[in-house]
Symmetry: C2
Subunit: 404 residues, 2 copies
């Protein structure tokens, strides 16, 4: 079980979490709990380091920001004990949860579960801080923001257990329910679909945690933290494709407004030009998402359009202008008022016509498509960001997701 | 070097501390720094545990409250690096600083200094969180409130180094300078004197840290944290008697208003009665300070007066009433409006007349003495707490401490 920052935001929340764990424990389950820092605490610690120095030493940064989880782990363990549930905390360095040496973005390499399993022998609940581990040099590491989901999946994989992620939503929906009131909660979703949904802007689970769950086949359940104990909700199970009997052609609609579009007009249509352009961006550590290159009419020059994260736009333009000599083009256009809307579903693999339905629905709604990109289980379009909500609604309708 | 919570209260303070360490480092010194949690942080964490459960598990309590020092250690290490001083943090479990298993009041049993000394070989400054250590079972322990001074002395002892305690006062004074403007800063003071001053209510150093320094012969310097770098102040050196050439008969005047007086009238004057009375108090975990038993006039009954901490008065009375059958007395009187004033000096051992000067000075000031108690290097009297300030001033004058 993993509880995020809002689930342990204050002592009352921590007591609620403890009461919920007790119910599961009373049912005879063997439990390891991964807990985030209290809501706002990691931000407070990050702000302290930022106020302190411009480029903090990553190892010291990790020592500072890992402190938040140490506090919540102790508080939850004592709250469990107060309810008569035997519990003890295991810091990342105590189990240990071994990681790569990459501070602030470490990857779990190995989880020693002996402590947890010894505790289980006497019905003890293990409380483990998320987000942190022990580097090969014996120093604290952290897994990057949202790393607690990854901790939970890593520990579940090592224990060969199911991983329940308790969060402030009651499951994964066909699309953002705040945008489309008729959005439907999914009972099951495949890892691949969840990955597309997560990276396409549905912020329920951290992408890395879904990847890790997929690799290790860990069943991942998204559950509401503060559900009515009298009416427990099953949430959504993220699992392998084989465990989904009725495969939907389209499972969900994702959107992201954090996009920016760059167009290079009059790029020389010759070998190596793309690698020079995207090499310059990669060197500047900028992730490029959708890429469209138009057919060259005259065989001399072509136009190239791609998207980057909105926050990266400035440095992307800078990197391209700095590389002007190698990245020759007539004109560089950039624009931020764009959004990406994606239609996702594993059933697409065996069903034609998904893209056509999408384009028809958007056309009928009078929404202009700027860029199209597709993968095996996804079709994405770039549109004017002002049209996001209308587009998502139109697509949700077009695929009949409300009643599917 | 040890810096307390007010010295690292915010990022500006931490930068000041780093700048000071850099000056010492520039002078070629090998440095280990012990740092407390940022001011208020430990109280915040203790309050969280108190809000959470009534009797927190001591091991979980330690995990929670040790987090504050982990934050300040990382922040100080990165602030040093930003000034070009190589530095790294060593958590209590990393060095490790081994302690007894007594959570929340552990004692240091062993400090492994290999990490610190390896760092020194490349001029690295070690930054170590105070207050925390590693218990024999591999769990975090803490040393109790004010434990950071003890950490610093323990580490200095293991390194055979001097220990500079940076604090918000610029040294140890003949008495409280807020009470007596003419109080004089002492250049040196013997461990024994400092112990008496500390436990008599002069809250500059934690008593346990002075004891530890005395046992290991660690020279302990009390220095002002935020002194003008252009005019460094030597502070006060706490050292062994042999290093003090000019031994003062009286070194300082201490006072404490946290006292309460209990008098048992008509106690049976027979063997074993004192042990029953003070045994009952010890069982209730109450420290008794001054004890005076009057001579029995008739050989039948006597009166017994003693003092306890003001906070303990209620439970002391309770413990005595509960033990009424074994602690027989005619009447029990208790009173809180009392203060203890003490005259301290190692020179007393070889000088008569110290007590007489004290009684004369108080008599001249018209201050009534309720109880007297003496040790080898101290004379204490209990007086009406309203007279504290007048008494301290009269004694400071009487022993000529201002100009000594």
């Amino acid at each position: 079980m993993k509880f995020g920052g809002t689930s342990v935001a204050d002592i009352d929340c921590i007591r609620n979490v403890a009461a919920h764990i007790k119910r599961e424990w009373d049912a005879g389950k063997e439990i390891a709990v991964v807990v985030s820092a209290m809501a706002g605490e990691t931000n407070r610690l990050v702000a302290l380091t930022a106020e302190n120095v411009v480029r903090p030493d990553p190892a010291e940064y990790d020592a500072v920001v890992a402190a938040g989880e140490q506090v919540s782990m102790g508080l939850l363990a004592m709250a469990l004990q107060a309810l008569g549930v035997p519990a003890r905390s295991w810091a990342g360095w105590q189990l240990p949860i071994r990681t790569s040496p990459d501070h602030a973005k470490a990857r779990i390499t190995d989880v020693d579960t002996a402590g947890i399993e010894d505790g289980w022998a006497s019905r003890q609940v293990a409380v483990i801080p998320g987000f942190q581990g022990l580097g090969p040099d014996g120093r604290l590491t952290t897994l990057g923001r949202g790393g607690s989901d990854t901790s939970a999946v890593g520990i579940a994989a090592a224990l060969d257990a199911q991983c329940d992620i308790y969060t402030d939503v009651d499951g994964v929906y066909t699309t953002d329910p705040r945008m489309v009131p008729g959005a439907r909660k999914l009972e099951r979703i495949a890892y691949e679909e969840m990955l597309e949904l997560a990276s396409q802007g549905t912020k329920v689970l951290q992408t890395r945690s879904v990847e890790l769950a997929m690799v290790h086949g860990v069943p991942l359940r998204v559950v509401l933290s503060f559900a009515d104990p009298a009416r427990p909700e099953p949430g959504t199970l993220v699992c392998s494709e084989d465990e989904i009997v009725e495969k939907q052609v389209v499972t969900g609609i994702a959107y992201s407004r954090d996009e920016a579009k760059i167009t290079l007009l009059g790029v020389a249509d010759e070998p190596g030009v793309a690698s020079r352009i995207f090499g310059a961006l990669a060197d500047a550590n900028i992730n490029v998402d959708m890429i469209v290159q138009n057919i060259s009419e005259d065989g001399q020059v072509t136009d190239l359009t791609f998207t980057v994260g909105k926050a990266d736009l400035e440095s992307a333009v800078e990197a391209l202008e700095k590389g002007k000599n190698s990245v020759k083009c007539r004109k560089l256009l950039s624009e931020t008022g764009v959004a990406k809307v994606s239609v996702i579903g594993i059933g697409m693999r065996s069903h034609a016509g998904v893209a056509r339905t999408m384009f028809e629905a958007l056309g009928k709604a009078g929404i202009n498509i700027q860029v199209i990109s597709t993968s095996e289980i996804k079709v994405s379009v770039l549109i004017d960001s002002k049209e996001t909500e209308r587009a998502v609604r139109a697509l949700h309708d077009a695929y009949g997701l409300e009643t599917a």
